[in-house]
Amino acid sequence: MSSTITQPRLGPLGTARWFWRQLTSMRTALFLLLLLAVAAIPGSIIPQTGIDAGRVAMYKTNHPSLAPWLDRLGFFNVFVSPWFAAIYILLIISLIGCVIPRIRIHLRTLRAPVPRTPKNLSRLPAYVERSVDEPADVVLDRARQVLKRKRYRVREDAAVEGRARSIAAEAGRMRETGNLIFHSCLIWVVLAVAAGHLWGWRGDAIVPVGTPLVNGQYDTLNAGPLVDTSKFSPWLLRLNSLDVSFEDKVAPTSPQYGQPRHFTAYTTVQDGNGKPQRKVISVNHSLSIGGNSVYLLGNGYAPMITVRDAKGDVLYQQETPFLSQDNNYKSTGAVKVSSLPSSQQMGFFGFFLPTAAFSDTLGPVSTFPAPKDPALVLGMYVGNLFPGNEPQSVYTLDTSAMKQVQGTGAQSKQPLRLMLKPGQTVKLPGGRGSITFNSVQRWAGLSTRHDPGKLPALYGALLGLIGLIMSMTLRRRRVFVKVTADPQDPARSLVSVGGLAKGEDPRLEVAIDGLALAVAGDDSTHVQLRTQAGART
C-alpha cells in the first residue's frame, strides 16, 4: 500500500475558502466561546488599570518579579489587550459568517410552500392511527380547524381519484427566525458598544459643597477618539449640600456598623440660558441635563484650611478635598501654599480623620466615617512645590525639592506633626505664620457620562432576548393528516397522523397523539391506537 495520498491542491482561493469554512464552523465557534470564558478570568483576579489604577500600583510593589511579566503580556489591561480582542473579533467574524448564509437560507424557507404529504406516513418518527365514527369530510374539516387553531400553516392539495385526502401542515418556522434575531442582535450590541467607545465620554470631578461644576471642566476627562471636546453642551451645576448618613444604630462590633446608608446631593442646575432649577442626585438616581447624565459616585471630606504668614495675611484659604482610604474615611490630602518664592513655598501633607483615634501600631486612624470627632494630622515641608513645573496630583506633595520641617522642643529629633481640631490654629515653627482648621466640609464625586451607544445596545439586547426565548420555546414540526373513508361503511373513516421535527424534540410523540385525539373528536369511543414511535431513529 502506498503511504502517500494524493490530495487535490487547494489554490489561494480554495485555501481562503477552507479557512473561512473552518472559522465559521460550529466547532470553531464553540472553541472560541470557551476560550473567551477562560481569557476573561484573569481580568477578574488581577487588578485592572482601567478599573482601579491604585490597586495595580500596589500589586506591582507587592509582586516585583511577577508584575513586569504580567504587564508585558497585558494582564493589567485584559479587556483591551490584543489577545483578548483577537478572540472576540474572531468570534464576531465567525458569527457573521454563520448568520449571513443562514439568513439567506431561512428567507428561502419562509417563502417555500408547505411540502406535500408523503405517501407512507407510518415511516415518520411519530405516527398514530385512529378510526372515527364520522364521515371523512367532517373529520377533514375538523383537522383543518384544529391545525389552524394550533397555528400551523396548512397545505391541501386537490383531491385525486383513488388517493386518500390529506392535509400537510408546518409550524415553528419562527424558531429559526428567533435564533437569527438573537445572533444578529449580538452583533448589533457589539457595534453599539463600539459606537459608545468612539463617540462617548466621561468627565469626573471632585466638587466641594458650594462650588460650581461647569460642563467640560473636569478633573479627568476620558473622551472617545471621535468626540469633539469643543462642543460640550453649556450647562452648569452648583452643589448646595450633600446629605450623607452611615449606620450607627447597631453595635460597633457588627460588620454593618459604619456602612453607608444614604448619599444625596442637592444641586441647582442651569442648562444654557435656561432658568436655574433645583435637582437632587443620589446613588441610583442620576441627573439628566443637556443630553448628558450626571452621577453621584463618591464623596469625602474637604476641610476648610487657612494658612497665614507671620503678619497675619492670608496665603491660602480653601476647601481642600482629601481622598478617603478606607471604609472609615481615613483620608489623605495636601495643602500647597504656592504664593511664596519657590524656595520658601510650604507644603502640608497628611490625614483627615472624621472620628480620630490613635492606634499604637497604625498611628492615626478613623473609627467611624461620620465626623463625630474630626481631626487633621499634618506633616510640613518647605522648598519648591513644583520642581520642573511638571503636572502633579493635587492630593500629594512632590517632596523631591523640599525639606521636611522638624519638631520643636522635646520633639526636635522627630518630624513636625501638626494636630488640629476644627476651629484650632497652630503657629508654624521658624516664624512661618500659622495654619487654621476652620471647618469640615464635604465634597461630592460627580461623574458626567455621554454614551450614544447605550440605548441602541439596550434595545438590541432586549430584542435579542425575545429572539432567544422564541428559539428556545418554539418547535419546528411538520404534521400530515390523512383521512380515508371506511370502504365498508361510508359513515366511518380512518385517520392517520404522522409528524416529524427538525432537531431535538422529545415531545413530538405526545404532540402527535394529542393532535390525533383532537382530529378524531373528543367523543370518539371506538378508537384504535397504533403508535410507531422512533420508527426512523
Binding site: A40, I41, I51, S282, S286, S447, M472
Partner: protein, 332 residues
C-alpha cells in the same frame, strides 16, 4: 406590603424568628433527604420482589388456564409496591419548604424590603426557589428518584447560609436601594436555582453513563441507580432545564447592565462579578452549541454544563467574598 428599599427600621426580633425557621427547615429537609435515600436504597429489593411476584402470578395463571401460556399483559397487572419512604420524603420536603417560605417571609417583614441584600438572604431565597421548582415538578411527574439529589445540596446551602453567610438583619447600602434589586437578583436567583437542578441531573447522568459504558458489569454496580431514568433521558432533562435557565441568565445580565448604568454610570464596568456573570453565560452558550455540534453531545456537553455550574459556584462563593469589586455586599 409596601417595600421601601431605603427602609431604616429593622425588627431584630422577627429576624431571629426567621433564622429559627431556617434551622427548622434544614432539619426537616435533612430528614426528607434520608427518607429519599432509604427509598433509593430499597429500589433493587423492590425490583427483585416485583419480579418474584410477577413470575408467581404468571405461574398460578398458567396452572389455572391449563396449557395456555398467559401473555405478558397479565403480568404487568402486578401493581408496583408502594414506596412509603419516597412518600415520606415528599411530605417532609413540603414541610421543609413551607418552613423555608416562612423563614423568607419573616425575614422580609423584619427588614421591610425584598430579602436579597446579602449572601445570607439570597442563599435562603435561592434554596426556596429550587425546592418550589422541585415540588411543582413532583406534582406533574414521579420524580421521587430526584429527591435525594435536590434535598442534599439544598440542606448544604441552607447550612452554609445559617452558619457561614449569616448576616444580621440590616438596611441596604445606597447602591442597592433600587427596585432593580428585586428584578435583577430575583431572576438571577431563579436561574441559579434551575442550574442547581440541572447540576444534580448532570451528576446523575455521569453515574448512569458510567454504568452504561461498563455494560453488563456496570449495570450490576450501584443497582439502586436503576430507579433513576436512563442516561439519555437525564441528558435530555438537563437540556430542558437549562434552556429555561439560559434566557433567565441572559435577562439577569441585561437587567444588571441597566442597573449598573443607573447606579455606576455605565452599563458595563468589567467588575469581577460582571466578568463572571459573562463567563457563566458564555459557558452555558457553549453547552447549547455543543449539543447542536456533531461529536460534542452527550458526555462532552455534560462536562461543559458542569463547568458552567462550577463557574456559578465561583461567582457566588468566591467572587462575592474575596474579589475586590463594586459588587462587594456579601455582608461578611
Amino acid at each position: 406590603m409596601k417595600f421601601d428599599f431605603s427602609n431604616d427600621h429593622i425588627d431584630t426580633g422577627i429576624a431571629t424568628l426567621s433564622s429559627h425557621f431556617l434551622w427548622a427547615s434544614a432539619l426537616v429537609l435533612t430528614l426528607a433527604m434520608m427518607s429519599f435515600a432509604l427509598d433509593l436504597a430499597g429500589a433493587p429489593y423492590r425490583a427483585a420482589r416485583l419480579e418474584a411476584r410477577r413470575s408467581a402470578t404468571t405461574q398460578t395463571q398458567a396452572t389455572a388456564d391449563g396449557d395456555v401460556l398467559v401473555d405478558t399483559a397479565v403480568a404487568t397487572d402486578v401493581a408496583p409496591e408502594k414506596r412509603p419512604w419516597g412518600g415520606r420524603g415528599i411530605t417532609l420536603s413540603w414541610l421543609g419548604t413551607l418552613l423555608l417560605i416562612v423563614a423568607v417571609v419573616t425575614r422580609t417583614i423584619a427588614v421591610g424590603r425584598p430579602p436579597l441584600g446579602n449572601m445570607y438572604e439570597f442563599s435562603m431565597v435561592g434554596c426556596m426557589f429550587a425546592m418550589v421548582f422541585f415540588l411543582a415538578w413532583s406534582l406533574k411527574s414521579d420524580i421521587r428518584w430526584l429527591g435525594v439529589f435536590i434535598t442534599g445540596p439544598i440542606v448544604l446551602f441552607e447550612m452554609l447560609a445559617a452558619v457561614i453567610y449569616y448576616t444580621a438583619a440590616s438596611s441596604l447600602m445606597p447602591s442597592l436601594q433600587s427596585y432593580w434589586l428585586s428584578i435583577h437578583v430575583t431572576v438571577a436567583t431563579l436561574s441559579v436555582a434551575l442550574s442547581t437542578l440541572a447540576f444534580s441531573l448532570t451528576l446523575a447522568y455521569f453515574v448512569q453513563n458510567w454504568r452504561d459504558e461498563r455494560g453488563e458489569a456496570g449495570r450490576e454496580r450501584l443497582k439502586w441507580m436503576d430507579a433513576l431514568p436512563s442516561a439519555a433521558s437525564l441528558d435530555r432533562t438537563t437540556y430542558g432545564v437549562l434552556i429555561v435557565a439560559f434566557p433567565m441568565w441572559t435577562f439577569t445580565l441585561i437587567a444588571g447592565a441597566i442597573w449598573a448604568q443607573e447606579a455606576w454610570g455605565h452599563y458595563w464596568n468589567w467588575d469581577p462579578k460582571e466578568v463572571w456573570t459573562l463567563v457563566i453565560w458564555v459557558v452555558y452558550a457553549a453547552y447549547l452549541h455543543a449539543r447542536a455540534t456533531a461529536g460534542w453531545s452527550g458526555k462532552k456537553a455534560a462536562y461543559i454544563a458542569l463547568a458552567g455550574f462550577v463557574a456559578i459556584l465561583i461567582n457566588y462563593g468566591i467572587v462575592n467574598v474575596y474579589f475586590v469589586g463594586q459588587h462587594s455586599y456579601s455582608g461578611l
